[in-house]
């Protein structure tokens, strides 16, 4: 099953009225891409694995409460408020598992179609390469959001089931209501998605370089890990602000009072720069590529 199958099947009107159908085609292309990304068994398995973590953490904390300051950040707060399960789970998953899932989806995007030989037929539909790339990128970003949101929702539900819910203590020691905290959790989710959008662009570029999807996935995941390792070496702290993984954990700025907008801005700007570089690079590569399969 590929994006092209759905499209070719639904191709009824002739190519004589492209301007009228352009908008409808984009939507249809995007919908079929979403269906493809969100129905692929591999991706569903990834989401399922991601969702296990909040459950695992919740049950473990319920079974034996950690001492203050033990384990990952927020872990000790989980016992007093279930909402912290969302933040703990995101903190635990953001360094490795979320980027891995995103690498799989974005690395697959173009290389996967090329690998099973559907990229060519997709371009016959006719879909311009630019549009195809745009839709593939949007698909990867939506998948990133779905991954992060699944973790958050499962964390929220498990937290509500196993732990008390009431006012939430922020990093600054200020207490806010549960409803306010839910808004902040939503903002955290948005920020985390934005952070992964940078990796999506890199993954998409890598994906245009090869016809072997597993290679693109692995390379993207490796790039994410390299960036994180470089970020943890203090001797090269001059380059830290330019690493795409550097601002990932800055979602904590949303849990301060007042909110540290400055740090968030920096993080979003970093991702914007990476997207601005790697999307055109992916476009250039796809435009200049011989599509033979």
């Amino acid at each position: 099953m590929s994006t092209s199958d759905a499209l070719i099947g639904g191709r009824s009107a002739g190519p004589d009225a492209p301007a009228v159908r352009r908008h409808g085609l984009d939507l249809r292309l995007f919908r079929s891409e979403l269906r493809l990304v969100l129905r692929r068994r591999r991706n569903l398995a990834l989401i399922a694995v991601l969702c296990c973590f909040p459950v695992l953490i919740g049950v473990a904390v319920r079974a034996s409460a950690p001492a203050n300051g033990d384990g990952p950040p927020f872990l000790s707060q989980v016992t007093s408020n279930g909402l912290f399960l969302v933040f703990t789970a995101l903190t635990v998953l953001l360094p490795f598992f979320l980027p891995l899932a995103v690498s799989v989806a974005s690395g697959e995007a173009v290389a996967g179609e090329a690998n099973i030989g559907t990229l060519r037929s997709l371009l016959v539909v006719p879909v311009s390469r630019t549009r195809l790339l745009g839709v593939k990128y949007a698909g990867s970003v939506v998948f990133s959001f779905v991954c992060a949101a699944s973790v958050a929702v499962v964390g929220l539900v498990v937290g509500l089931l196993l732990f008390p819910h009431g006012d939430v203590t922020l990093l600054s020691g200020t207490t806010i209501s549960y409803a306010d905290a839910l808004w902040r959790a939503l903002l955290v989710l948005g920020y985390v998605t934005a952070m992964l959008a940078g990796l999506c662009a890199i993954g998409l570029f890598v994906s245009t370089l090869t016809e072997v999807p597993i290679g693109a996935m692995a390379a993207t995941a490796v790039l994410a890990i390299v960036s994180e390792i470089a970020d943890s070496i203090p001797q090269i702290n001059a380059v830290h602000p330019y690493l795409f993984s550097h601002p990932w954990m800055s979602f904590g700025e949303l849990l301060r009072s007042p909110i540290g907008w400055h740090g968030l801005q920096t993080g979003l700007l970093t991702q914007l720069v990476y997207v601005a570089i790697f999307l055109p690079a992916a476009w250039a590569r796809l435009q200049s590529k011989d599509i033979t399969s």
Binding site: G69, R129, L171
Partner: protein
């Protein structure tokens, strides 16, 4: 062949690039787009830096006038972000899972703090790391020290007669604190000059330079960027003697605004579930202290000015290689790695270990006496014997 035609025809249908006539040229041409983006990004990163580092032109002000400006700026309300960087040559450690911030960890690496001051008697310093925060708040007579990683709140109540500028223990050095300390050292031992202007946190500032006259001092100069409008010190840089390039210690505002912060910022009540204890003033309580035992006696100062040597007794370093207790906290970690970086010495003063950093030297004798000064170790040994 057929593949080429198929993809080519699809492009024609959409009216986009990849002309079939000269594919080799267009293949190179499309790469101009990402190349242009990279160029734009590089330029937009570089230009603000160049513009920001360009010295603004300001009316002349003498060093003494600037000293007064700084002295009068103590009640300017402000809110901003401060970045402190120490390059003392101490071993830096990777900050992995660092959730608690101890004052000792400020001796290595770079740290960020958010500061607020209402111009009167409320102030707040929030030492922030990725998912942790240590807050020191003063709201009127109440002082709170909140540590998010440990979920502890320590409280102290200042005496009613406390003067406005009472010194509260601060987890970091703001530019104001650092400038005040440097200015306290201004006496015949120091050459004070104004060395042009600078842009700091988007504001134009005068560069006040303090140079120790005593050549034994490891400090080459202290440069204080004084805001031209308010007189608030925006940046303090300490250069080691003879060193060129980056300062050995630096604390600078990266963003600042001089409007009065909202009163909510200074309000604090311990959250439910937090461990609340009493904070001893003026030294921080033993619980949050680093692994150095508190000295039994008051420090003795040998000499004066920049070459002064401070002597503490009853000091012992934690046993190195004990990850069980000191390992997790980065401060304890730093101290034990400092212990490993020390070299054994012996002389007329007895035996001990010494450590030289770019700005400060330490001499720890086996009898528990610790000598610290911004001087080469030889001066410490002299003071010890």
């Amino acid at each position: 062949m057929s593949g080429r035609r198929l993809s080519g025809s699809s492009q024609d249908g959409r009216g986009t690039v990849v002309a079939m006539s000269s594919p080799a040229l267009s293949r190179r041409v499309v790469w101009l787009v990402p190349a242009a983006v990279v160029l734009v990004v590089l330029v937009s990163i570089t230009i603000p830096r160049v513009v920001a580092s360009a010295a603004p032109s300001l009316p002349h002000r003498s060093a003494a006038q600037l000293l007064v400006d700084v002295a009068h700026s103590g009640h300017t309300p402000l809110a901003g972000t401060v970045v402190e960087t120490a390059r003392l040559g101490l071993p830096a450690l990777p900050e992995v899972g660092d959730t608690s911030i101890s004052p000792t960890s400020l001796l290595a690496g770079s740290h960020t703090a958010r500061v607020w001051y209402d111009g009167r008697n409320s102030s707040r310093i929030a030492l922030v790391s990725n998912l942790a925060e240590t807050d020191l708040l003063r709201n009127g007579r109440d002082v709170w020290l909140w540590t998010s990683g440990k979920n502890t709140a320590q409280h102290a109540r200042l005496p009613a007669s406390a003067p406005q500028g009472v010194e509260t223990p601060s987890p970091t050095l703001t530019p104001q604190d650092a400038a005040r300390r440097a200015l306290a050292a201004v006496d015949p031992s120091t050459r004070v000059t104004v060395d042009g202007t600078a842009k700091v946190a988007g504001r134009s500032a005068y560069e006040l330079v303090l140079q120790p006259r005593d050549h034994r001092s490891l400090v080459g100069d202290v440069r204080i960027a004084v805001d031209s409008a308010t007189g608030v010190p925006l940046r303090v840089q300490v250069h080691a003697r003879g060193a060129t390039g980056r300062p050995a210690f630096e604390t600078t505002f990266t963003s600042v605004s001089f409007s009065r912060p909202s009163a909510d910022v200074f309000r604090f009540s311990p959250p439910p579930g937090a461990k609340v204890s009493t904070l001893g003033l003026p030294t921080s309580s033993k619980g949050s202290g680093p692994a150095v035992d508190h000295p039994d006696t008051k420090p003795v100062v040998h000499g004066s000015g920049w070459a002064a040597v401070v002597e503490l007794s009853g000091v012992s370093l934690p046993q190195s290689g004990g990850p069980a207790d000191g390992g997790r906290e980065s401060g304890g970690n730093l101290l034990s790695s400092m212990g490993q970086a020390m070299t054994p010495v012996h002389g007329a003063f007895g035996t001990g270990q010494e450590l030289r950093t770019t700005l400060v030297s330490f001499l720890l004798l086996d009898d528990g006496r610790l000598f610290v000064g911004a001087v080469p170790p030889a001066v410490l040994e002299q003071a010890a014997s």
